[in-house]
Subunit: 416 residues, 2 copies
């Protein structure tokens, strides 16, 4: 299939973009892309490709932007239920601690997820994945972490593997038994940490190859934060997970700086995420590593907080910056990477070009898939979007609606 007549074909060629280099879209005006066997075979000017492949079935992009599908590298998309009542209570003046005392917050989603049937969880999650897909996300990381006991966490992973297989959205799974202290271990975080290290992770290490023999290892993620896991506890979990060969991720510096970003660099983690309260020193350490800094602008927005990830400082220090939605039922129920871009432009001062690179090739790097997705280059997966607009700068500029007209996943066309 030959997709032609794109006003701008954004290839994002050349690999992940570091520091001030962020924002190289590598635009082909009046561009075209030839797709064979679910992959990009060649990109170039429409005139050349139409002449070179005269018998190819055509898809006319109609003078609109064609670009790689978004890669969302941080989501908690698998859960049951919702916390809409809690959202209303907060607006009526109830404090977070009051809600927590009544059994609300993250533990209410844990309760809902533990008690829901697998079918219910899969159905609810599938509907979110389709929503993400229709807004242009063709690959997404999805974390467990609302089980907080071995069986439920593995059930979530099982569901993610099944949903990945079902498609069309491709899932990079993450195990996050260390998302919060399990309610059974209330007040005993060290014991729960030991349980994660000595039981959950070893069981996972055994379980995985039998259940996903075709699949690379899942990420292991830790919430390093006051009220969740301390720096030492995070270090124990990282240490155990690394010894077993798991690639690492961390939730760091969302509300407090406990040193999570430095820990990520020390352990060669794939990404460090949130990074709102990261100190200049930690930014410098992170920016000089290969750990990708993942900003989650929907979360401060969801909470109406004023502070966002200091993206400009990360770029000036030469870091690898990506953005994600953080889709979750508490702070940011948002399936749209387009909206994360709109926030990144306004509150992290990224240009639309920078936000696009951070949401495609760099976010692919944040889940170790930059060799397969995130750009339109020969040999890469044919994951593309046709937007409904003629200029890429409409992304970020316009907000609240869907500017994706057609999603193409592994060469298959899904019109919106």
């Amino acid at each position: 299939m030959l997709i032609h007549s794109a006003s701008q074909l954004l290839t994002l060629a050349g690999g992940p973009q570091r520091g001030p280099d962020l924002g190289r879209l590598e635009i082909i005006p009046d561009g075209a892309a030839l797709i064979r066997d679910e992959k990009i075979l060649v990109v170039g000017p429409s005139r050349e490709l139409l002449a070179a492949y005269p018998d190819e079935p055509l898809l006319d992009a109609g003078g609109k932007v064609v670009m790689p599908g978004f890669v969302d590298p941080h989501t908690h998309a698998i859960f049951a239920g919702d916390r809409s009542a809690e959202f209303e209570q907060r607006l009526q003046g109830k404090t977070y601690l009051e809600i927590l005392a009544e059994g609300g917050g993250i533990l209410s989603t844990v309760r809902a997820t533990r008690t829901a049937s697998l079918e219910k969880i899969v159905n609810e999650t599938r509907s979110r994945l389709w929503s993400m897909f229709s807004y242009g996300t063709t690959t997404a990381e999805v974390k467990t972490g609302y089980g907080l006991r071995t069986a439920t966490e593995l059930r979530m992973l099982q569901a993610l593997l099944a949903l990945d297989k079902e498609g069309p959205l491709e899932i990079a799974p993450t195990f996050m038994g260390a998302h919060a202290i399990a309610p059974e271990y209330r007040g005993r975080p060290q014991e729960y940490t030991d349980f994660v290290c000595s039981t959950m992770l070893p069981v996972l290490r055994q379980w995985w190859p039998h259940n996903a023999p075709y699949h690379e290892m899942p990420f292991v993620d830790v919430f390093c934060e006051t009220g969740a896991f301390s720096l030492d506890q995070s270090r124990s979990i990282f240490s155990a997970a690394k010894d077993m060969g798991f690639p690492l991720k961390i939730h760091a510096d969302e509300f407090d700086n406990l040193g999570g970003a430095r820990l990520a660099v020390e352990f060669g983690a794939v990404s460090a995420d949130h990074l709102v309260k990261t100190s200049p020193g930690d930014i410098s350490i992170l920016a000089n590593s290969d750990t990708v800094a993942v900003a989650l602008p929907c979360t401060p927005f969801g909470l109406a907080e004023a502070h966002y990830t200091p993206a400009q400082a990360i770029l000036q220090a030469g870091g690898l910056l990506a953005i994600a939605t953080d889709l979750n039922p508490g702070t940011a129920w948002c399936e749209s990477m387009q909206f994360a871009l709109a926030l990144a432009c306004r509150y992290m001062r990224l240009t639309p070009a920078q936000a696009i690179a951070a949401a495609t090739i760099n976010s692919a790097a944040a889940i170790q898939r930059a060799d397969r997705v995130g750009s339109l280059e020969p040999g890469k997966q044919a994951d593309l979007l046709i937007l409904s607009v003629p200029d890429y700068r409409h992304l970020g500029y316009r907000f609240g609606i869907n500017l994706v007209q057609t999603v193409i996943k592994r060469g298959r066309i899904y019109p919106n």
Copy 2:
């Protein structure tokens, strides 16, 4: 047609909601609505209506929320072109004054609109109206104001009347020759004001009944702001317009408080809009009048500004509060009232119920149509939404995507 099995049927019955009364949704659990001749005939519990009207064609709401269509009472949806390049320049550090000096800002949209063919303007506007409609807006106010000369302003009105007739979105047109000082009158705001009063408005007064004999008079709106029209100039325009029988609206206190809100009350304007810098004294005067206070949260969001309309103060003073998108190509290109609600909850501290009332029955009042739309009551237009969620509180809580599954306009079904 009988729409039944709504988990919650929000009727918003009882007319516009003043002050702390805002947020009365009047929910019918497991609700139903009977539609005849494009109108609501009766609402009630599903079981009762299904028994009373056994031969009616059925539409199963499937356990989701049914509510009135959104009424968007403040948009600049009719224009040509876009300002995406300017958005990028601002993010690259160019100041608004530099952009203005290069011919950017509102006057670049005036240029694009003046030079575009009527067909192009209508096509571009139609696409925005459909987008608004699919996100749940069934009635919208739309302002002229990118012509700034008589012929172009009237051409815009003509286009709005044609688009209204075409449907399905219903349009309440507003004449806004006083949106900015026309470029021909640069530095001579008083002369342009005189021109609006002595030429534009009288020509409009003659033109209207010949071109829209079936239609009530359009609103006349003024941008009372530093750099636009002073309080005295706004007063002259209000005075001339009122004498000719036009209902009035005003853009007041967006960046500076010039006294526009008080002027609105003095002249019995239908609404005063923006109201970011309104003083406590002016809030009190406004809240004790029948002039609706229209908050436009997408505009500070679009500009990444910290200050929003002080909705709580307006409600405590007993005011009539509505919300709108302010859809425009400069500061807020957003078609979605759902997103305006999400902002209103976070930055104006409205509960979802308050935001919904402000976006339906109260916004209908802001365009003098609360007798026809904005609630589901016998005799009102059958303008309804079926959401994709079981609880109204998902509005506001979730953001960035479309939670409307089906739009029903005058009894006709438009699935998303």
